[in-house]
C-alpha cells in the first residue's frame, strides 16, 4: 500500500501444504535495496529459487552498474524473468513496493505468474486471501497517509483478511519503507 512518500508491504508467515501447516516463520518479503521491497506468494520452492535468482542478478547489477537498481527497473526485470518461462512458469505472484527517484515517489507493481505488470497508485494484493484483502483495502485505504497511519491501516487490513482465509495466518510481518529506512514489525494473529 502506498502512502505519502512511503510504502508498506505486509504478509503472513504461514507456510502450508494444503491444510497442513509446515512452518510458522516463512518470510516471503525481501529487501532488494534501501529503496525496494519485493514480496512473493505462491509455490514456496519457486519463491525460494527466485529469491536466490534475483539476489544473484542484483549483486551483478550493483557490481557492473555501480549503482542501486530503481524499483521500476527491478519490476521490469522481474516481469521479463517471469515471461522468459512463459510455457513452464514460476507459480508465484510477485509484488514490488518501493520509493522511486529523488522525490521518493511511492511505486507499486504487481504482476501475474507470467509477468503481466500493473502499476496501481493505491494498493496491491496477492495470495490465497486476495479477495478478502481487496475488499478490506478498498474500504480502509485513503490517499497521502503518513507512515504511522499507513502502518495501522496495512496491519488492520492484513489481520482482518487473514481471519477470513483458512490458508493464511499463523503470524504476520509488516514492513514500512520511508526515505529514512525500513521499519519491520511482527503482529500476532489467530493461530488457526
Amino acid at each position: 500500500m502506498a502512502g505519502k512518500n512511503c510504502v508498506a508491504i505486509a504478509g503472513d508467515t504461514r507456510f502450508g501444504v494444503r491444510n497442513q501447516t509446515v512452518a510458522l516463520d516463512s518470510n516471503r518479503i525481501f529487501k532488494i535495496n534501501n529503496r525496494t521491497l519485493f514480496g512473493m506468494t505462491g509455490l514456496n520452492t519457486d519463491i525460494l529459487t527466485l529469491r536466490e535468482s534475483f539476489k544473484f542478478q542484483m549483486n551483478l547489477y550493483n557490481l557492473e552498474e555501480e549503482r542501486e537498481i530503481s524499483p521500476k527497473t527491478f519490476a521490469h526485470n522481474v516481469a521479463q524473468t517471469l515471461y522468459s518461462k512463459r510455457f513452464g512458469p514460476y507459480f508465484i505472484t510477485p509484488i514490488i513496493a518501493g520509493l522511486e527517484g529523488e522525490d521518493y515517489t511511492p511505486f507499486l507493481c504487481a504482476t501475474d505468474l507470467i509477468g503481466a505488470m500493473e502499476f496501481p497508485k493505491s494498493f496491491v494484493v496477492a495470495g490465497t486471501g486476495e479477495e478478502s484483502l481487496m475488499g478490506v483495502c478498498e474500504t480502509f485505504y485513503k490517499e497521502n497517509m503518513e507512515p504511522e497511519e499507513l502502518f495501522e491501516v496495512v496491519s488492520q487490513c492484513l489481520l482482518a483478511a487473514v481471519d477470513r482465509d483458512a490458508l493464511s495466518g499463523w503470524g504476520s510481518v509488516v514492513h514500512v519503507l520511508t526515505k529514512d529506512g525500513i521499519t519491520t514489525k511482527r503482529l500476532r494473529t489467530r493461530k488457526d
Binding site: E64, E65, R67, K72, T73, H76, N77, Q80
Partner: protein
C-alpha cells in the same frame, strides 16, 4: 548468426616480446583511417568526423558515418568501415537486450564495456581477426555526459577530449590547449570543428564532415548540413 569457424586455434598469438602483433597492425589500420574526434563538455558531448569520399560521384547522402546505438548514445569510428558496421549491429542488439530486460536505456559505460568485450573476443577466438576500428562512444546518462574510446584490443577508457585516426596526435595536442573542464556544449562544437579544420586537407564544408551532438535532453542528434554550415561559417569569420 554464428559464422562457422573452421579453425580451432587463434590467429592472434603472442610474439616473443609480449606483443600481440595482429592488434598492433589493427591499430595501424585505425591510424590511417579518417580523423574522428570527440569532446565532452559540462552539459553534453560532441563527436565529429571527416567524411572524405574518394570521388565526387559518390552520393554523400548515402554515407552516414556517425550512427546511433539507441536514442541516447552515438558512435563514430576511425578505420575499416565494414568492421564498424558489424560492430554497430552487434552493439545495437546488446543495447536492445538490455532495454528488454530493464526497460531502461543502457548506460554509456556499460555498452562501451560490452562492445569492448566483443572486440576482445575477436582477438582470442579461432579463425578470426581483430576489428580494424577504434570507436568513440558518446552518451548522456545518469552519470552525466561521457565519451569513451574502444580499441581493437578490447581496451576502453573515458576521455574528456580525444582524436583518433589520421593526424590524431596533432589534434590531441590542439585539444589539450583548448579544452576546459567547464566548457559548454556550443563551445565544444566550435572547438571540435576547429580542431578538425586544422588537419583538414583541402576545403572543409558541410558535406565533407559529420557532427553528432548529445545535450542534457539525452537525445543524440546528427546535425543537418545546414546546421553544420552555420558552425563552419561562424569559424571562418
Amino acid at each position: 548468426m554464428k559464422k562457422m569457424s573452421f579453425f580451432n586455434f587463434s590467429l592472434t598469438t603472442f610474439s616473443p616480446n609480449g606483443k600481440l602483433l595482429q592488434i598492433e597492425h589493427a591499430l595501424k589500420a585505425v591510424e590511417s583511417g579518417a580523423t574522428s574526434l570527440g569532446i565532452k563538455a559540462s552539459n553534453g558531448v560532441v563527436i565529429v568526423t571527416v567524411k572524405k569520399l574518394p570521388t565526387t560521384l559518390i552520393d554523400e547522402n548515402s554515407v552516414k558515418k556517425i550512427q546511433k546505438l539507441n536514442d541516447g548514445i552515438g558512435v563514430i569510428y576511425s578505420g575499416l568501415g565494414p568492421d564498424y558496421r558489424v560492430l554497430i549491429s552487434k552493439a545495437r542488439k546488446k543495447s536492445q537486450q538490455y532495454f528488454k530486460q530493464y526497460n531502461e536505456i543502457i548506460p554509456v559505460n556499460i555498452i562501451s564495456r560490452k562492445v569492448a568485450g566483443i572486440m576482445q573476443e575477436f582477438t582470442q577466438s579461432g579463425g578470426v581477426r581483430p576489428f580494424g576500428v577504434s570507436l568513440l562512444v558518446a552518451g548522456y546518462d545518469h552519470n552525466g555526459p561521457q565519451l569513451f574510446q574502444v580499441d581493437p584490443s578490447g581496451s576502453f577508457w573515458a576521455w574528456k577530449a580525444t582524436a583518433i585516426g589520421k593526424n590524431s596526435s596533432n589534434s590531441k595536442k590542439f585539444l589539450e590547449k583548448r579544452y576546459k573542464p567547464d566548457m559548454e556544449i556550443e563551445d565544444a562544437i566550435n572547438t571540435a570543428i576547429l580542431t578538425l579544420k586544422e588537419g583538414f586537407e583541402g576545403e572543409m564544408d558541410e558535406f565533407n564532415i559529420e557532427v553528432g551532438v548529445i545535450k542534457n535532453d539525452k537525445k543524440f542528434r546528427i546535425l543537418e548540413p545546414e546546421e553544420v554550415k552555420d558552425y563552419i561559417s561562424e569559424l571562418n569569420l
